[in-house]
Amino acid sequence: MAKTNGLCLGISEQEARLKDYIEKTGRDPSLLLSYLQEAQEIFGYLPEEVQVIISKETGIPLADIYGVVTFYSQFSLVPKGRNSISVCLGTACYVKGAGDILARIKELLNIEVGGVTEDGLFSLDATRCVGACGLAPVVLINKDVYPKMTVDAVEEVLKKYRNKEEPGE
């Protein structure tokens, strides 16, 4: 199965789309956030090559762009897996054992927070409070919410995604 590495597939077309967008909006350094959002939309993530394009097009120093990308958790430096797992580490989830659940997921998938599995199937993030404290501890996979998760249930849940032919919407 091909990896979902956007850069391998038709960089020039994606690059042209991003450059076009920056051009149309006037190469305005104050629009950096929307350039980054657009770029992530197009490429799926924001590797160095993509940030260099933005730097060259806007004149914003690469270090500043990297600073912004690492500041906001919505941006990713690595390609996302086809199923993106988020474990809420807000206070309520945390006291109800979200840390253990996260550890279990890391162990099962053999990746760190921010990482992607080798087959490109899963990526893992830890998030701040998602506002579902009544359901703590909460795990999100794509748009599916798993309330009151337990360490034991993790394996079953992940299986569902492994077995799916199409990745979850």
């Binding site: 160095e48 120093p61 690469l62 500043d64 762009i65 990297y66 600073g67 690492t70 500041f71």
Partner: protein, 583 residues
């Protein structure tokens, strides 16, 4: 003065202050000092650290004095128990993960964090034991970054970005993980750092320090087979005294020479002599271009910070830059050719050390095309900063302040006033104009001063009528200013024949290798002008004020280099530049 003033009270004292100024500034008017840490006047005014908090009547909480504006009727208290407690708490939190190895830290005794902790009575730490591990990054030739001593004041970022227009440092990540870093956490050697060292000069702690090369010099001095010579940059004499507690702007040329001789150098020489040589070569280049009609502007090449900047950011201007090596490199080149021959010493046994205001000089000595003697023998072996030589003097137990004055060795020690002022922004321009004007008119100048190119204004411009020729010049320093000037030239908004660019704001007197002055001193004294004054005063008191009248230089051409711009001079004293990729 028709500026609007407001009346306020600070600790019960009535103060008048300019509307829009800060509590910090107002307090100084009545001799009240408010401690600061992240603040750098005009450069980093972000109110980040909150060491400077004060109580303002009717304000809900303590306010940061460094950014809080004064207002009519305001009542401020700068030293209540509440204020003291808050400042100590802030410091304790900063210190909780700071790697506190003051005993081994090069910034000890000159560290703003250490001093504040002492001054504010932080004598007991409640949250210790989380000290970061050392994490030195030493990929470049000029500095070591160690974030285990970084307090996230962001002064370096402001310096590298807003002042130098280089912007290779940025805050990355967030919350507890926030750190000062580069794009993709690359090594500094892999990003377009121009090695100006301005970040070191403003860091309040030991997070950014010189990469020290004194050991190589000690070893050379003890090596019986080496003939070790040292040459000092124009600006070092105007600043070295600060390292020994002397007032800013004291010219310590004579004591400096005495100290270097006591360290055991076989020759103590003046790089200013090489600065005169630079003027002969660069002046000739300018005259040639005036004759040929371009390409204009000719841009100076003395500052390796500027050269690095041009290679990374303005490669289209490389053909405009003078091919002259810098005075440091000309000094080394002459030592390893002419001087070696005269002394009958093999160039490889001559060890050339320089004292420089500049960390980029450490990079310059490693550049290609800087080997006049050939066979890979570098023109200069070690470039020390003013700070490093002060450490050598201290280590050797030399009582600098009480030394008698001594003169440079005559073989390469005579220099003109024109060379001395190289150390200040506009100095190279003025030195060149003195010589070029006399050559063009064939008459001695009535007054050798060119006041229009002096001073610390960001961009200085002038037009001179010399022998019927109109010569338009511009002078700038600090690379963000250089950016502005170059963009104007690029867009056809300005035209000049000759442009002087120095990498550091104010020129070499404010170089990245100069003695470190704490934030409050930088903010409230005009460091650049005071230091520059020492050089202009020296020039004014001299009879030899023009490079082309320097007898040592005349003899050098007669015996060795033939004439300015000769083939031989080009082989030994000139160099080339190449574009470099920013990414």
């Amino acid at each position: 003065m028709d500026e609007k003033m407001v009346n306020l009270k600070i600790n019960g004292l009535a103060v008048q202050a300019r509307a829009g100024s800060t509590i910090l500034e107002a307090a100084r008017r009545v001799n009240i000092e408010i401690p600061t840490l992240c603040h750098l006047k005009g450069i980093n005014e972000i109110g980040a650290c909150r060491i400077c908090v004060v109580e303002v009547k009717n304000a809900k909480s303590l306010v940061p004095a460094c950014v809080y504006p004064v207002s009519e009727g305001m009542e401020v208290k700068t030293n209540t128990l509440k204020v003291q407690k808050s400042r100590r708490m802030t410091l304790e939190l900063i210190l909780s993960d700071h790697r506190k190895d003051c005993v081994n830290c090069v910034r000890s005794k000159n560290c703003e964090l250490q001093n504040l902790s002492n001054d504010l009575g932080v004598d007991f730490l409640r949250f210790g034991k989380h000290e970061k591990e050392p994490m030195p990054e030493s990929s470049t030739v000029h500095l070591i970054r160690d974030n285990s001593k970084c307090i996230l004041c962001r002064r370096c970022i402001a310096m590298c970005g807003a002042v130098q227009g280089v912007s290779v440092l940025a805050p990355v990540e967030r919350g507890f993980r926030t750190k000062v870093s580069t794009a993709f956490d690359k090594k500094l050697s892999d990003v377009p750092c121009v090695k100006c060292g301005q970040c070191i000069a403003v860091c309040p702690t030991g997070a950014l320090t010189d990469k020290e090369y004194t050991q190589e010099v000690w070893e050379a001095l003890e090596d019986p087979d080496k003939h070790v010579v040292i040459g000092t940059a124009p600006s070092a004499r105007a600043t070295l005294g600060e390292c020994f507690g002397m007032p800013i702007g004291t010219n310590v040329e004579g004591k400096m020479v005495a100290a270097l001789r006591r360290l055991g150098f076989d020759g103590v020489f003046d790089v200013d002599t090489a600065a005169d040589l630079t003027i002969m070569e660069e002046g000739t280049e300018l005259l040639e271009r005036l004759e040929k009609g371009g390409p204009f502007p000719l841009i100076t090449s003395c500052s390796p910070g500027w050269i690095g900047f041009a290679e990374y950011f303005y490669p289209e201007f490389l053909p405009n830059i003078s091919s002259c090596k810098s005075p440091q490199q000309m000094f080394g080149a002459i030592m390893k050719t002419y001087y070696a021959k005269k002394k009958g010493i093999d160039p490889k046994d001559i060890f050339v050390v320089t004292v420089m205001p500049c960390t980029a000089k450490k990079y310059e000595i490693t550049r290609s095309g800087q080997s006049a003697a050939g066979s890979g023998i570098p023109d200069v072996d070690v470039a020390l900063t003013t700070r490093e030589i002060s450490r050598m003097i201290t280590r050797a137990g030399i009582d600098f302040v009480n030394l008698p004055k001594e003169d440079f060795d005559p073989a390469f020690g005579e220099a003109s006033g024109a060379a001395h002022i190289f150390g200040a922004t506009g100095g190279v321009m003025e030195a060149a104009l003195r010589t070029v004007a006399e050559i063009l008119t064939g008459k001695p100048l009535e007054r050798p001063e060119f006041h229009e190119v002096r001073g610390t204004k960001n961009i200085k411009e002038a037009e001179y009528d010399i022998a019927g020729k109109k010569i338009r010049v511009a002078v700038t320093s600090g690379l963000a200013n250089a950016r502005k000037l170059l963009d104007r030239i690029k867009n056809g908004e300005a035209e000049y024949h000759f442009v002087e660019i120095m990498g550091c704001p104010g020129g070499c007197v404010n170089g990245g290798g100069q003695p470190i002055q704490p934030g409050p001193v930088r903010g409230f004294t005009d460091l650049r002008s005071l230091r520059a004054k020492a050089l202009y005063d020296e020039d004014r008191g001299m009879t030899l004020r023009k490079s082309h009248e320097n007898e040592t230089i005349k003899k050098l051409y007669e015996e060795f280099l033939e004439k300015p711009g000769s083939h031989k001079a080009h082989e030994i004293l000139h160099t080339t530049y190449q574009p470099r990729s920013r990414y």
